[in-house]
């Protein structure tokens, strides 16, 4: 798993220093973003619901760093990480989360519906599994229009209970579409352990369609990046879809308000992931052990991102709410 001993011949070094540092930087950015979401939400500055991605950063970052800017993603209710990793700007993200006019969706979408054509983000989706068709459809259009783009459908393991996913996997493999089904298995369907909701072998479900499957350590950003790169390029060259199951963990509750959660998830388990399996700590240590960055360099990345994120929050807090007159705009194109 993530306890691989680093050594001079570690194949991950081939990823290159710049990219390895960028993987770190992007994960820290998401962590800092989400910490501020938690703060804004608990201070009642942010309305609605907040589903934090903290703990799962390596997946969004590892996968999106393997994508081109014009490749597509679909995201989930726990989607801030995917949107940021695909290139969303934190100030416009925070503005949207606070319901402000300058937000990505003019305040009409909110936390669960960030969308951005500029970065190929087809939208976060609050229907579990609901975006499987959209991602597969984007992959279909890419193939039909010969655009060479790949679509990644991010979903939690809870979506394994939705029938639509299997219809899309069948169609994707039947038509050899360039779509990656990225299953983020954080172990819990909301407040229920996934073993109580999921029969049989998860990967075997996709494999039954003839889709290539792989289980990936979702706390290990270099592994995520390498595996994702392999299947994304494979899809891009016409070899069809892949199903990747990323083993991960969300440090917080299902949403920010899910605080008293010992009834479904032991504290010791949470502590183990936080202290032993943290993707940022693991990658940071690896960077230091391999001489790519020292502690000071990593601290500098963090400090610069803290400034950026604080400025982004300030921008969003000070941004105006949309005029109520705009409520009935954008219903029809």
């Amino acid at each position: 798993m993530a306890t691989k001993t680093a050594h001079a011949q570690d194949p991950a070094l081939q990823i290159g220093k710049e990219k390895l540092l960028r993987l770190y930087r992007q994960m820290v950015a998401i962590r800092l973003f989400e910490e501020r979401v938690n703060d804004l939400y608990t201070r009642a500055v942010m309305p609605g619901l907040a589903h934090l991605y903290i703990g799962e950063e390596a997946i969004a970052v590892g996968v999106c760093e393997a994508l081109r800017k014009d490749d597509y993603i679909t995201s989930t209710h726990r989607g801030h990480g995917h949107c940021l990793a695909k290139g969303a700007s934190p100030d416009l993200m925070f503005a949207e989360l606070l319901g402000k006019e300058q937000g990505y969706c003019k305040g009409k979408g909110g936390s669960m519906h960030i969308a951005d054509p500029e970065t190929g983000n087809l939208g976060a989706n609050a229907i579990v599994g609901g975006s499987a068709g959209i991602a597969t459809g984007a992959a279909y259009a890419s193939k039909y229009l010969k655009l060479g783009r790949v679509a990644v459908c991010f979903f939690g393991e809870g979506a394994l209970g939705q029938g639509l996913l299997y219809e899309e996997m069948n169609l994707a493999q039947l038509w050899k579409l360039p779509v990656i089904f990225a299953c983020e298995n954080n172990g819990y369907n909301e407040y229920t352990h996934f073993s109580e909701s999921t029969a049989g072998d998860v990967n075997a479900r996709a494999a039954a369609f003839g889709i290539s499957v792989e289980t990936v350590d979702g706390q290990h950003v270099r592994e995520v990046f390498s595996v994702a790169s392999k299947y994304i390029e494979r899809a891009r060259t016409g070899d069809g879809p892949a199903f990747l199951q990323f083993k991960t963990y969300r440090y917080h509750g299902h949403h920010v308000g899910d605080v008293a959660r010992a009834y479904y998830r032991p504290k010791a388990e949470e502590q183990e992931w936080v202290t032993q399996r943290d993707p940022i700590t693991l990658h940071g240590e690896w960077l230091m052990t391999n001489g790519i960055a020292d502690r000071a360099a990593l601290d500098a990345i963090q400090e610069s991102l803290v400034k950026d994120m604080d400025a982004a929050v300030e921008f969003a807090v000070n941004a105006p709410f949309p005029d109520p007159d705009k409520v009935d705009q954008d219903i029809y194109a």
């Binding site: 003019k106 979408g109 969308a115 229907i127 068709g133 984007a138 279909y140 259009a141 639509l164 219809e167």
Partner: protein, 333 residues
């Protein structure tokens, strides 16, 4: 009303739709059609026979029996450069695709603050009296009409079907078209050779009259016209107005007609309760109350699952005789 002097050809309702699809596919290579048995089989209703010969299986696309799955692909493809037409065969299958229609296609433009567009056409059928029983006979156009973000087309004549279908394909919004399946072969009418488009949201006066307005949609237009002929024989002049689209809805044409005649029956093959007739009747009463001689009457499908037996099924749909009787009573003749 169509100027019949200029139109020399007669087409069936089904052929008019096929011609609309073929012309739009010739005009725009981004238009594709997908559904179950649409290619060589030409659909279960044989409406699209021959299209696959001209456009090939890459554009007339047979799908698995996965209505939600291929509708989802349609949504994603529409967002990313295509103009797909998805064919769900029976309108009853609308329930199977409803998440993709109502939660996804309808809302994506708004949720994204107007950034993504979904130029998708969904073909469905409607209409009872085909002895197909409760799951293949419903007229469910009220369902999508209830959802902001969708447009809903319910054509009654070959001329309207062709012009409205072409408008739907060119529209940048998701449009659901309900084709009355009994009309495919049964209803014939003049259709000009030249290219024409009928804008969505413009009602058509199918017959002028002065004593009573019969507002009728889809299959009920033929019923209303027959009733109008019967009424004429007893000296009652009935005006028949067809909204042609339930959304956008041309309120003005409907209201103006009722202001002129002072009486109104709204007829529809959808379920009577909580349906299209209720919506239109309330609009009439809100906007033409002081011009009315009496309450607006409504006639629609009975509030029962559509039965199989001919003697039972025929009783569920308003007949020309029933419309005649109600209109006569309202006119005190």
């Amino acid at each position: 009303m169509l100027d019949t002097a200029a139109a020399v050809r007669e087409l069936t309702f089904g052929d008019a739709i096929k011609e609309a699809i073929a012309e739009e596919m010739r005009r725009d290579p981004k238009v594709v059609l997908m559904g179950e048995d649409v290619a060589e089989a030409g659909t279960t209703f044989k409406v699209l026979t021959g299209l696959v010969d001209e456009f090939g299986k890459d554009r007339i696309i047979d799908t698995p029996i996965s209505e939600a799955g291929f509708t989802g692909i349609g949504v994603g493809a529409a967002m990313t450069g295509m103009r797909p037409i998805v064919d769900i065969m029976f309108g009853d299958f609308l329930m199977i695709i409803m998440d993709q229609v109502a939660n996804q296609a309808a809302k994506i433009h708004y949720m994204s603050g107007g950034k993504w567009k979904v130029p998708l056409v969904i073909r469905a059928t409607m209409g009872a009296t085909r002895r197909s029983a409760a799951q293949h006979s419903q007229s469910l156009h009220a369902w999508p009409s209830h959802i902001p973000g969708l447009k809903v087309v319910v054509p009654s004549t070959p001329y309207d079907a062709k012009g409205l279908f072409k408008a739907a394909v060119r529209d940048d919004n998701p449009v659901v078209i309900f084709e009355h399946k009994i009309s495919y072969k049964k209803v014939k009418g003049p259709v000009p050779d030249e290219d024409y488009v009928i804008p969505l949201g413009v009602a058509d006066v199918k017959r002028e009259g002065s004593d009573i307005t019969l507002i009728a949609l889809s299959s009920m237009v033929q019923t209303a016209l027959r009733a109008a002929t019967m009424l004429e024989e007893v000296g009652i002049s009935a005006e028949v107005v067809d909204p042609r689209t339930t959304w956008p809805l041309d309120e003005k044409t409907l209201v103006d007609s009722v202001k002129k005649t002072s009486r109104c029956i709204v007829m529809d093959e959808g379920y009577f309760r909580y349906g299209v007739t209720g919506e239109i009747a309330s609009i009439i009463q809100e906007q033409a109350f002081y011009d009315l001689d009496g309450p607006v009457r409504r006639m629609g499908a009975m509030h029962v699952p559509i039965p199989f037996s001919p003697s039972l099924e025929d009783a569920t749909v308003p007949s020309d005789r029933q419309v005649f009787e109600v209109a006569r009573q309202m006119c005190n003749r």
